[in-house]
């Protein structure tokens, strides 16, 4: 007996509802968001200024869009490296999940994804609003970038869930999974272009970043949505995102199956 | 200077909380008009259903919460103003919160606590040895606290609260979740401690067995207000609470409805096990058992005490 798509949809909704349980935290997060946004505005605008107003395809409007869109997405993209499922794998509770007719990977990702999608409401929209009102930013005037952008955002968020699931799955083998979590937290934000746009990285660093799924989580959705890149490039970025999603999901499935076998062998 | 007689003295003590109820705010009265006096050396049981305000009262005794109304003095001190001086004379065991350091061996926690309470080396050694011996903690003295069973941990918590030989010990639900043996050990220790050092004891509990074995007096609190104050015997008398004799018979038989002084509550397994309620003031378990034995062969038996919920319900009902 396999679970139907409706079950996963329910999990998604449950995650969504869980995200809405802490309204006060959302407000506090918004203040933190705005603070970081304004600080980024300061330093990044000054950088553009020093470069003569334009740098690697960014002008002030595009930079502002990058700042506020990335801040808005911050609550939805998992750049911490921690998940609930990691804890369950670590203490063996996952054995219970394996006994259910649900695919463990899909179920935990659905739940995670739900609450992250919710976060777009209290975090995502207000961040963009603050940007528009306080600083102003260049946003596209045609509908296509928005449609493509929405898809890109969805892909980016899902990709962060599937990637962070890999970190969780490592706990089937690693006793001290914390190392990987820390590494993920440290590397992901930086390489995803959280504090500095990836296009501003020196060449070799840009190459390094593109060898990881991180830019596809944040930088690419922001680029597509802001319309900073043209249609052809946008489609290319979305394709790269989709490719990473497939790779990480497949790897996750392989690791889950191997992990399950290992659990059974250990008698867990 | 003569020491004040009362270890705990409260007048009209009350505490309200403002609680968010959806979008509105409402006031919950946790404790109201509590006037009690606990003398030195007494052992008082503070009983009541969950949410009756017991933990709130304890917090006010120790200065964690400020009263909304009325006043309280613990060991002659105002708990909020003189907390640091007061706490040297009081030991508290919170059932759920631990005073020990989770990842350290038990003896490390004690060493730190001895330093915190400024016990000299000699007194620390004496007191620690005494507590370890009397609470039988030697077996796990070097074990990290997080690896202890609940029973072991509670014994360590009680010892930790008593390390500085306080005048007053307050125990908030100390036997909750403990097995019968651990409960017994803990109770015996507390009885001995009181006898040896004259420590005053305030015990909040759900367990009538605790109250029976340990306390001279009970304070029964119902929804924040004092519903009864006096001896346990008096309480049972007031309330007419019944004890229950549970007998296991050799063979299934008819319901024992004709036993004098007892009321038949129910039967299980076709009459193999039967429950009989009796008023402890009117008759004894032994008499009821004898009467039952005339009708049927009893293989095993047990006696159930009236539980706090039942007693509280009856008290509340009798007050209406």
């Amino acid at each position: 007996m396999r679970a139907t798509a409706r079950t996963y949809a329910r999990l998604l909704a449950a995650g969504f509802r869980r995200g809405s349980a802490y309204p006060l935290a959302a407000l506090g997060g918004l203040v933190a968001n705005a603070t970081f946004g304004l600080l980024k505005v300061g330093i990044l605008f000054a950088t553009l200024d020093a470069a003569g107003g334009e740098l690697n395809g960014y002008d002030v409007g595009a930079m502002s869009a990058y700042i506020w869109l990335s801040q808005g997405l911050l609550g939805s993209v998992n750049l911490y490296g921690r998940t609930d499922v990691a804890e369950r794998i670590k203490n063996g509770d996952i054995a219970v999940d394996f006994a259910r007719p649900l695919d463990v990977q899909a179920a935990s990702i659905a739940l995670e994804l739900g609450s992250r999608l919710f976060a777009l409401l209290p975090r995502g929209l207000p961040s963009v609003l603050i940007g528009v009102l306080l600083v102003g930013m260049s946003m596209p005037t045609t509908p296509l970038p928005y449609l493509l952008g929405a898809l890109s955002v969805l892909l980016g968020i899902t990709l962060s869930c599937t990637t962070v699931y890999l970190v969780a799955a490592s706990r089937f083998w690693l006793v001290e999974g914390r190392g990987l979590e820390i590494l993920y937290m440290v590397a992901s934000g930086f390489l995803a272009g959280l504090f500095v746009p990836v296009p501003l990285f020196p060449g070799w660093l840009r190459t390094l970043a593109s060898a990881t799924p991180f830019p596809s989580m944040l930088q690419h959705p922001v680029d597509v949505l802001s319309g900073r890149v043209d249609l052809a490039t946008s489609l290319g970025l979305v394709a790269v995102q989709a490719a990473w999603l497939v790779v990480t999901a497949a790897l996750g499935a392989v690791l889950t199956r191997a992990g399950r076998v290992r659990l059974e062998v250990q008698g867990g | 200077m003569t020491e004040p007689d009362a270890v705990i003295e409260s007048h009209g003590l009350g505490r309200d909380f403002r609680v968010r109820d959806g979008l509105r705010r409402r006031t919950v009265v946790a404790v109201d008009d509590l006037t009690v006096r606990v003398g030195a050396g007494e052992a008082v049981g503070y009983i009541g259903a969950n949410g009756a305000g017991k933990s709130t009262t304890i917090k006010m005794l120790v200065g964690i919460l400020v009263p909304t109304r009325g006043s309280v003095r613990t060991c002659g001190h105002d708990p909020v103003r003189d907390r640091r001086r007061l706490v040297r004379q009081v030991g508290v065991v919170f059932g759920q919160r631990s005073q020990l350091w989770w990842d350290l061996p038990v003896r490390e926690s004690f060493r730190i606590l001895a330093s915190i309470h400024a016990l000299g080396a000699v007194r620390e050694r004496e007191r620690t040895d005494e507590l370890v011996e009397r609470l039988e903690m030697g077996a796990y003295w070097s074990t990290p606290v997080r690896q202890l069973s609940l029973g072991q941990r509670m014994r360590a918590e009680v010892a930790a609260a008593l390390l500085h030989s306080p005048r007053l010990v307050v125990l908030d639900e100390p036997t909750i979740g403990l097995d019968v043996l651990s409960k017994q050990r803990l109770r015996e220790f507390l009885v001995t401690e009181r006898r040896t050092h004259g420590t005053t004891l305030l015990l909040t509990t759900h367990d009538m067995g605790d109250v029976e074995r340990l306390c001279d007096r009970v304070l029964l609190v119902d929804r924040g207000r004092l519903a009864y104050e006096g001896t346990l015997a008096g309480l049972s008398r007031t309330v007419g609470a019944e004890r229950v004799l549970v007998v296991d018979l050799a063979e299934p038989g008819a319901d024992l409805v004709t036993v004098p002084g007892a009321r038949h509550l129910g039967s299980e397994a076709g009459g193999l096990r039967q429950r009989l309620a009796f008023d402890a003031e009117v008759t004894t378990a032994a008499k009821v058992l004898a009467a039952v034995a005339e009708h049927a062969e009893v293989v095993d038996l047990s006696v159930e005490e009236p539980d706090v919920e039942d007693v509280v319900r009856r008290v509340y009902a009798s007050r209406r």
């Binding site: 006060l24 935290a25 959302a26 407000l27 506090g28 997060g29 203040v31 933190a32 603070t35 970081f36 304004l38 600080l39 505005v41 300061g42 330093i43 990044l44 605008f45 000054a46 950088t47 020093a50 470069a51 740098l55 001290e176 914390r178 190392g179 820390i182 590494l183 937290m185 440290v186 590397a187 934000g189 930086f190 504090f195 500095v196 501003l200 020196p202 | 505490r15 909380f17 917090k59 120790v62 200065g63 964690i64 919460l65 400020v66 640091r84 706490v87 009081v90 508290v92 919170f94 759920q96 919160r97 631990s98 005073q99 350091w101 990842d103 730190i112 330093s115 915190i116 309470h117 400024a118």
Partner: protein, 271 residues
């Protein structure tokens, strides 16, 4: 009952010593934490470096100068984080009831909170800051005159004070907004981010926030401007770096006030 200094600090030293022992006893995870801390320090340095590498000067500073800013500010932050970093977890302590246990001990509550833990792993991060600081001093050819050394020492000590005050301020605020620990992130981690930037690039509202209200600009940028003899900018005269101790006093005043108000709120006194 006033004893000697050793006697009066004994309870605090006992707890701290036990935390140190506990951390060092878990060899493997401690090393992992050290590595993680080191990486975090390196990444934060990289974030600054990436910007300045592309463009010559930002906010009146070049790469060598901003390295000095980063070094000072990050060392101050790392030391503060090491000592009192756990304080902005107050919301969690309250929720778990750990904070109530402090009431049962004959010591002041804040002092107990502050000395209840110490994060040795931050030493690795401090190492990054120290390396940046030393490099910055060398690259900028800073003559270590008594005045210069005095300014640096003043800046470091005040910097540690300001940064640690942010953590304590967070604790006080968290009494009110138990679910909103995110709010305190704005000035604790926002402050850290701000401290390694040239304050000259900020708008006036941001300057008001991070120079005068949460004065983290005094932990790095302002002392460096004074030290290197750089020109002052809008609202930020060149000599402002000497006022770092004032910033520390202000920050701690704010922190202690928030603690006092917070505790009173927690206990329900005054309403």
């Amino acid at each position: 009952m006033r004893g000697t200094l050793a006697a009066r600090t004994a309870p605090y030293r006992a707890v701290l010593a036990s935390r140190v022992r506990a951390q060092r006893s878990y060899r493997a995870s401690f090393r992992m934490d050290l590595l993680g801390s080191l990486l975090v320090g390196l990444v934060e340095l990289a974030e600054v470096w990436v910007l300045f590498h592309g463009v010559g000067r930002i906010g009146g500073l070049d790469l060598g100068q901003v390295l000095l800013v980063f070094g000072l500010a990050d060392v101050a932050y790392s030391v503060a984080d090491l000592l009192v970093g756990h304080c902005d977890g107050l919301a969690g302590f309250v929720r778990r009831g750990t904070f109530d246990v402090f009431y049962l001990r004959p010591q002041p509550l804040l002092l107990q909170l502050v000395t209840s833990d110490i994060s040795l792993r931050r030493l690795a991060r401090a190492a990054v800051g120290i390396a940046a600081l030393v490099t910055g001093l060398v690259v900028n050819d800073v003559a270590l005159t008594p005045v210069a050394v005095g300014l640096l020492a003043l800046a470091l000590v005040s910097g540690v004070a300001v940064s640690s005050a942010m953590f304590v301020l967070a604790a006080g605020v968290q009494f009110f907004v138990v679910d909103g620990a995110e709010l305190t992130n704005a000035f604790v981690y926002g402050g850290r981010y701000a401290s390694t930037q040239p304050a000259s690039v900020w708008s006036r509202p941001v300057k008001a926030a991070f120079v005068f209200l949460f004065p983290v600009a005094f932990t790095g940028y302002l002392p460096v401007v004074t030290l290197l003899g750089l020109p002052g900018t809008d609202w930020l005269p060149a000599w402002l770096g000497w006022c770092a101790p004032l910033a520390a006093v202000w920050a701690w005043g704010l922190a202690l006030l928030s603690w006092r108000v917070g505790v009173r709120h927690y206990q329900g006194g005054g309403g």
